[in-house]
């Protein structure tokens, strides 16, 4: 999922043949752009108009001055990435048009409304026209006409709207987009449509078909570093809680749920994804990143492999212990289950680590060790479950 800023989205709309107002980024404003202008904060969040991210200017000078004001401060919670300045439109009426993927239907859907200009969530339900497109058929004329009539258009504007629907649908497919949303879609005094805004989300997995398409990494320092290690890291709470490292999205979600249900506080989670394929050194790198970036009281490593060898994880942990003196055995709870379990235990022999075979028991142990701090610092005895192994 790659979200685009408005000015990036408008480039794609223009490539689809859809009219957009003349404009440019404030640092490289085209010379010809003057007169009545709109100055727009480029942010990834919605609702920027209400937050003061859209201002009107008379002439370049005023526009550039407003741009300097806008770039200087965040917009609500959103960071202002850039400022885009474009010609102000003479709008007769604001429409809404979107081409998107409906994940539940598993097909593209077109949405159109004669009540554009507001967030789609706020639109009256019955004013929103919806048309699914069977990908085996592609967009057909009857589908387009149904939408055009649904928004109450006739005459030239109806033809213009029909062409826009076709362009938006073609753009969704050819650009491998998840969403192409034009809101508002301005009907101007001369009866033509022009895209006043653009919200576009592209599919990251199709990058091999689109040279230059790259995800824009975002998130906390920890999350960005995790991405570099080819794992998925999510920072949850502050330092001093539990950091959990799992294989698989499902197990990651379940571990987070279990620790919280037990009253534990989670500093962050890591899903190892394919990192195991890079060998034990990578596992040690992940532990180091977690320890330094999240500063958790306790790290729980909860791995359940059906086919991959637990030996890689075990060797990675041994290396992390050698590399990281702060990573004392009392700060680490291991739950290792599955392929090559005895071999993994043998690798960990002598480390003094507690290994717990059951998911729930491992989470309980992690929560107990994470609070209070005085407990976490001292050595604790492991719970007297027959499935626990202390490898000392």
């Amino acid at each position: 999922m790659i979200k685009l800023l408005e000015h990036e989205g408008k480039k794609i709309l223009a490539a689809c043949g859809i009219a957009v107002p003349p404009g440019g980024l404030y640092r490289s404003l085209p010379d010809a752009l003057d007169g009545e202008l709109v100055v727009k904060a480029q942010v990834f969040a919605g609702g920027r108009g209400k937050a003061g991210g859209i201002r009107f200017a008379n002439g370049r000078e005023e526009a550039l001055r407003l741009a300097d004001e806008i770039i200087a401060a965040p917009l609500g919670d959103a960071q202002v990435e850039d400022v885009y300045i474009e010609r102000k439109l003479r709008i007769e009426r604001e429409y809404y048009l979107a081409a998107m993927v409906d994940r539940d239907l598993g097909m593209p859907v077109l949405l159109a409304s004669a009540n554009g200009g507001m967030e789609i969530e706020g639109m009256p339900r019955d004013s929103l026209q919806r048309q699914c497109v069977d990908p085996l058929l592609g967009l057909q004329s009857f589908m387009v006409q149904r939408l055009v009539r649904g928004v109450g258009l006739s005459g030239d504007p109806a033809n213009g709207f029909a062409r826009l629907i076709e362009q938006a649908y073609a753009g969704l497919i050819s650009h491998d987009a998840e969403l192409i949303e034009i809101n508002p879609l301005a009907l101007t005094a001369d009866g033509s449509f022009i895209a006043a805004d653009a919200k576009i989300v592209l599919d990251e997995d199709s990058a091999f078909r689109h040279p230059g398409r790259r995800a824009r990494p975002s998130g906390t320092t920890f999350e960005l570093l995790a991405r570099e290690l080819e794992v998925i890291g999510v920072e949850v709470g502050g330092p001093g809680g539990i950091a959990a490292i799992m294989n698989g999205a499902g197990l990651t979600m379940a571990t987070l749920d279990e620790i919280i249900a037990l009253g534990g506080r989670v500093s962050g989670v890591v899903e190892l994804h394919g990192a195991t394929m890079h060998g034990p050194e990578r596992i040690a790198d992940v532990l180091e990143c977690v320890l330094h970036q999240l500063a958790p009281a306790v790290i729980v490593v909860n791995i359940h492999f059906q086919f991959r060898s637990l030996e890689t994880i075990a060797e990675g942990i041994v290396r992390a212990l050698q590399r990281l003196p702060q990573l004392t055995p009392d700060r680490l709870v291991l739950r290792l289950r599955g392929e090559k379990e005895p071999e993994a235990l043998a690798i960990l022999a002598g480390t003094g680590l507690t290994i717990i075979r059951e998911f729930g028991a491992a989470c309980v142990e992690a929560v107990n060790r994470s609070r209070p701090m005085s407990d976490a610092l001292g050595r604790r005895t492991c719970p007297s479950s027959s499935t626990n192994t202390t490898v000392s």
Binding site: V101, R103, G106, N247, H304
Partner: protein, 292 residues
């Protein structure tokens, strides 16, 4: 009986000569799964794990009467491979490949449904009917034949549930992993009626997650079932707008949160839990209730 796959199927692996394909082939042959061949363009005449390799699915089907496929080709080829298999008349296809482009998933899904075939995935951990056949990323050693059906989007949660059920003496009739991607070929609502009609299934465990409305479609399908369903909805505490490994698990509009889904299943009167450690006990409660 079991559902979707059993010992009478004749199975191919697309991408059998790659490391993933070879590893699957060896496991399937060792586990007694009826693997009859594999496909890898330009490699006809070779063999992997004792089964022949063919240039294309049509040739493989002609020679082996294969009717089911596990596809482990790389993501840029996944759609073509799926369309090829479906065109050759394959009735069941598991697309194990992850990172398949969204619009490719949409097209393969549409074609599979138009042909009346069962597509699991993309990004599916597969399907297994223990003791009969496995097209799954699940170790046979951890499975045993039994009377619980499992339908899930997540592979790793399925491992946990299987282990906990095993500890309470339950095995599985079939385990169906739908795939972790936002657009998938087969949904809960498609699978539940199959389990309901299966004489070897007593109860179905449904493993859901936040995002999308497939769990609500499942609730609608559940209303016409005779057998109990136990729902486990994971990611009750997923941070909003965060990807937790696959795009299927992101939050979206309003009531598609894990909490809302859990409440919806409970409102139907079914056993529904939000922790993986609670699933096995919920299954036992539901089974006792069904007997009483």
């Amino acid at each position: 009986m079991s559902i979707i796959i059993d010992e009478h199927n004749r199975i191919l692996i697309q991408g059998i000569t790659g490391p993933t394909g070879r590893s699957y082939a060896q496991r399937m042959v060792a586990g007694g799964t009826p693997l009859v061949g594999g496909v890898a363009p330009g490699r006809q005449g070779e063999s992997v794990a004792g089964v022949p390799v063919f240039d294309n699915v049509e040739a493989a089907v002609a020679a082996t009467q294969a009717d089911a496929v596990l596809s482990v080709v790389r993501s840029s080829l996944a759609m073509d491979a799926a369309l090829e298999a479906l065109t050759a008349g394959v009735r069941t296809i598991v697309v194990y490949t992850e990172n398949v482009p969204l619009h490719d998933a949409i097209r393969m899904r549409a074609y599979a449904r138009a042909r009346g075939a069962c597509l699991l995935g993309p990004n599916s951990a597969g399907v297994v009917s223990p003791g009969k056949a496995s097209l799954a990323d699940l170790n046979d050693a951890n499975l045993r034949p039994g009377r619980i059906g499992i339908v899930s989007k997540s592979g790793t949660l399925t491992y946990e549930v299987i282990d906990d059920l095993q500890a309470r003496g339950h095995g599985e009739s079939s385990v169906v992993c739908l795939g972790g991607d936002p657009v998938i070929g087969t949904t809960y609502a498609d699978v539940l009626p199959l389990f309901d009609a299966d004489a070897e299934t007593d109860l179905v465990v449904l493993i859901g997650e936040p995002g999308g409305r497939l769990e609500y479609d499942a609730i609608a399908a559940m209303r016409t079932m005779r057998k109990p369903v136990v729902a486990y909805i994971a990611a009750q505490n997923a941070p909003p707008e965060k990807r937790m490994g696959h795009a299927g698990a992101i939050y979206d509009r309003g009531d598609t949160t894990a909490a809302a889904k859990l409440a919806a299943f409970r409102a139907e009167g079914c056993e529904a839990v939000g922790r993986v450690t609670e699933v096995a006990a919920a299954v036992d409660r539901a089974l006792q209730h069904a007997i009483a």
